[in-house]
């Protein structure tokens, strides 16, 4: 039981990392970036390749992956969203074009890495097994959880206490007012995508590290659960995504414990459905008080 709870928390921390990147872009820019799962997958493959080529340790590898992610994020915005800016259907069109871009990214990954899953070398990150109060945890899991916490708290700090964060909140609330105040909206947009995709690629690399390998469907496997997390937490809510990630991870783990793993996805989507019907703004989302 305790073991299942722990597993749930570890899985949930990856869900949360995936979800906060996605929800950040929505919260600030009202973009639904459906290329996010593909970027997540790309992060895993890039991590594996860089690790194989350079043998750099994991605490250098992850920043390298994040840097790649930041660049990828800026490109996603330039390619899938910016050309559509100012159109009446810009949000819907962006959603569709980001689906297309995500497909292109997956195809490029297949062209480069083939259809077989890629693996980390067996001895890349020698795993150790700890046992705390009868619960077995691996070093990789601990690193994942610790890093997820650090990144989430770091992002929350960045949004609430730095000039970039203040500009992001200004754009989120009222892009026109932000522009009037001299916020460089183009730069804030790029920065938001860079952060979002950096988090997404690191989440992808961490999941691959936990699994030891990554296939093209890595992003697809987490995509729907990730979106359930985002809705559960309230679209655009950072704390909501973090909490909902862990809640969903635990819910899945308990389902496996009480029934069996075939019921796992059902719980995620039953929760999603219940939230949409009973509390559409999400568990932590709040109704916005908007200026007229």
């Amino acid at each position: 039981m305790l073991q299942q709870l722990a597993n749930g928390v570890f899985a949930g921390s990856i869900y949360a990392l995936f979800a906060i990147g996605f929800t950040l872009v929505f919260g600030v820019l009202r973009h639904l970036n459906l290329a996010h799962p593909a970027v997540f997958t790309a992060g895993a493959f890039v991590g594996i390749e860089v690790a194989a080529r350079t043998a750099i340790p994991v605490w250098i590898l992850l920043p390298v992956v994040a840097l790649f992610g930041a660049l990828a994020g800026v490109l996603v915005e330039r390619i899938a969203f910016r050309p559509l800016r100012g159109r009446d259907d810009e949000h819907f069109a962006g959603l569709i074009s980001s689906v297309a871009l995500g497909g292109i990214v997956i195809a490029l990954l297949q062209a480069r890495y083939g259809t077989e899953p890629q693996s980390f070398a067996m001895d890349y990150f020698p795993d150790r097994l700890f046992e705390v109060a009868g619960v077995r945890v691996t070093l990789t899991q601990l690193v994942t959880l610790g890093l997820a916490l650090v990144l989430m708290v770091g992002l929350a700090w960045l949004v609430s206490a730095t000039p970039l964060g203040r500009s992001m909140r200004a754009v989120a609330e009222n892009p026109t007012a932000a522009k009037v105040l001299g916020v460089n909206v183009g730069r804030v947009t790029a920065g938001t995508y860079a952060l979002s995709s950096a988090l997404g690629t690191v989440a992808g690399a961490l999941l691959a590290l936990n699994l030891g390998q990554a296939g093209r469907d890595l992003g697809a496997s987490i995509e729907l659960v990730g979106f359930a997390v985002i809705i559960l937490g309230g679209l655009g809510s950072l704390w909501g995504a973090m909490a909902a990630g862990v809640v969903l991870g635990i819910a899945e783990a308990l389902t496996i414990h009480l029934f069996d793993s075939t019921w796992k996805s059902m719980v995620a989507f039953a929760l999603l459905f219940a939230v949409l019907v009973l509390r559409p703004r999400g568990l932590f989302g709040h109704v916005k008080v908007r200026e007229v």
Binding site: P163, R166, S167, R169, A170, E173, N174, T176, A177, A178, K179, V180, L181, G182, V183, N184, K288, V289, R290, E291
Partner: protein, 236 residues
Amino acid sequence: MSEPILEVEDLRVAYGRVQAVRGVSFTVPEGGLVALVGANGAGKSSVLAAVSGLMRPAGGRVRFDGEDVTRRPAHRRIAAGLVLVPEGRQILGTLTVAENLALGAHRRRRQAAPESEMYDLFPVLAERRALPAGSLSGGEQQMLAIARAMIARPRVVLLDEPSMGLAPKMVDEVFAVIEKIRASGVTVVLVEQNARRALRAADTGHVLETGEIAHSGPASELLQDPRVVKAYLGVE
């Protein structure tokens, strides 16, 4: 008079196929107060949107302090000291009063006034500095919008309908603040539907009609001009 600090030349603004501003030209001397008046939809706000950089004009030129700024993004015009107080206030309701002010100052950190100076000028904001700006009354929000522009110590401030939707007593307060601003030597361009109040405060006035300047002159003369009185001032 010295070189004008702001020159608008043959400005054209279009929304799709609709031409909102059709070749407007005027100049603003340093330290002056110029009023643009006219009916709703005459193009007054569109002129300010183009001058401040919120909108790309369809044609014409905007020169600020001798430099052509027509194609410059809004944030660079603010950095140079050309600051807009937008129509409808556009304060950031979920951010605090203090955060709104900090955003107003962030493009001109070197020139910006200390926050305390704005609180001296607008005491009502001092009491509410830690509150979300959305909790302020309409008049207080207008004061915040003006303070947010003035904290940048602008050289030219563009005021778009500052008295709109305010109670008569607040309108008086807003115009008292405008007097203070021009007394401190800051150049003001004032767009108003309340033509009489605006022309009383201004040195020079321009009356806009369907995107063009119909009448121009010293504000005191426009206040007497029978055509202007009939169309825009009415009987007091």
